[in-house]
């Protein structure tokens, strides 16, 4: 189950989206998120879904592969949906005992579910089509202006890319530790919430110890290979804009302005 998380995992294939400059993809993801929160009618979401579908198609990452990563947030999504469904005030459509479901509640819950799904898929497209190193480069170069206010952009970007690299390794390790503890009779599945939380301790302690050991090893290995921060570093894959990036920026601009315009147009306000 733990191996199913695709968030933050690179999917190796050749596509237009893979070749795009990471800065375009970063800005694209941010703009896509922004538009999602601007919509006031379903047509806006329809435009966003179509846009996302086209991007997924172009990226040539199998859709099912992408969806697998969403399984882990199903619980979070259900909680949000249920809360919105029962708590939102408005015109009741269904009532039983103390539970009332309102029209606004249904709309709100559906919107939230859709929004979370689109957010997750939108961000996973970026990480699936961009190698972490590329992503790091994109952030480093795209956010370089922040260095003026003493933000250690390079260091933050490096930390992020290392964190991403170690996600699958640590997950595998968690799996191993869990199996080792189960083999020795640890009970992880039964009991109430507190019991289960307590049962996590023998998994988390070895995991943390090993994570620290790995961090120490990695720091040694990086220093042994002359890593000394961002100054004086050259790039194996320096970022250069191509025509396709300009085209992508234009498409992005058109999508952002267009979708927000349509998404806020009062004639489509059916709720």
């Amino acid at each position: 189950m733990l191996r199913d998380i695709t968030l933050g995992q690179y999917y190796q294939t050749e596509s237009v989206i893979h070749r795009l400059d990471p800065r375009v993809k970063l800005l694209g993801t941010v703009l896509f998120f922004v538009t999602l929160f601007c919509f006031k009618n379903p047509v806006g979401y329809a435009v966003a879904i179509v846009f996302l579908a086209v991007v997924i198609f172009l990226s040539r990452v199998p859709f099912l592969y992408m969806i697998r990563g969403m399984k882990t947030i199903v619980v979070l999504m259900l909680i949000t949906v249920i809360l919105n469904l029962f708590v939102t005030q408005g015109d009741p459509v269904f009532s039983y005992w103390k539970i009332t479901i309102t029209k606004q509640g249904i709309v709100q819950a559906a919107t939230i579910a859709l929004r979370i799904s689109l957010l997750i898929i939108g961000s996973s497209i970026m990480t699936l089509t961009t190698t972490p190193n590329h992503l790091t480069d994109g952030m480093e170069k795209g956010l370089r202006f922040l260095r003026v206010i003493k933000v250690p952009v390079h260091e933050i970007a490096m930390m992020m890319s290392i964190a991403l690299r170690f996600i699958p390794i640590l997950l595998e390790e968690t799996d191993k530790i869990m199996k080792a503890q189960l083999a020795r009779g640890a009970d992880l599945e039964s009991g109430n919430l507190f019991k289960r939380i307590k049962a996590m301790v023998p998994i988390l302690v070895p995991l943390f110890i090993s994570a620290f050991r790995r961090a120490n090893d990695l720091a040694n290995a990086m220093e042994a290979r002359c890593y000394r921060g961002g100054d004086g570093r050259t790039k194996m894959k320096p970022l250069k804009y191509h025509t396709r990036d300009a085209v992508a920026y234009i498409i992005l601009f058109v999508y952002t302005v267009g979708s927000i315009f349509v998404g806020r147009l009062w004639i489509f306000n059916i709720f």
């Binding site: 190796q12 090893d217 990695l218 290995a221 042994a224 050259t234």
Partner: protein
Amino acid sequence: MEIVRAKDVVYEYIRRDDEGNIVGITKAVDHVNLGINKGDFVAILGHNGSGKSTLAKHFNAIFLPEEGTVWVDGMDTSDEEHLWDIRQSAGMVFQNPDNQIIAQVVEEDVGFGPENIGVPTEEIWKRVEESLKAVGMYEFRKYSPNKLSGGQKQRISIAGVLAMKPKCIVLDEPTAMLDPKGRKEVLEAVHELNKKEGVTVILITHYMEEVIDADKVFVMDGGQVVMQGTPKQVFSLVDELKELRLDVPQVTLLAYELKKRGINLPDGILTTEELVQNLRGI
């Protein structure tokens, strides 16, 4: 010419209790003197806790000696001015392949070292290609390291060091976490580098089979170098090695036992062929 020279090197691990009082001092490296010649394949042997890994970390200036001096390519490792030159001259490969690969694509990881020392972009690509070809991993350049076997990952790590054009590679138990197939792969790659590229290799290990082709062997115990010489010289001292809780290769042991029973064989037989040849001659 000597590439690495250690003189009276001492390194201590200090154990403290909860209040920070010193409760014990372990001399992990205890007055070690050794010299390693350029172009040689040198092995440092020893069981766990013999101080061999601690000593190895001195060759790359990750550890600095508390007493004594280590010179790498003529540079004193405690001289901070030369720190990065030393690390470039003496590359290091560690035990755990997962904990030393930084990037998520093989070629980017190999390029990490050259990027750090400021090599121009086109040159980085050239070096990455050369290094990957030298360890026979070129066709995997676009792969994610997570999809490779342990032996392949170690070869990537070696390529990553090689791309910095070091004069000397220190391998700190590179095969300890590998299966026999992976071990063979890594050792073959290392031997080829030594022969073809003339890179000095310092191999830290506790596997006896890995050192029979070395030019020189140092045996460590309790932080000290207790034996040194060619593999033939070292492995002819079967009893002494046993005392140090080290095994000799099986063939060597067999020849030794045969000799003890009165069969006329020379000391320090290292390979099956050698033994067969000698037995035929009788």
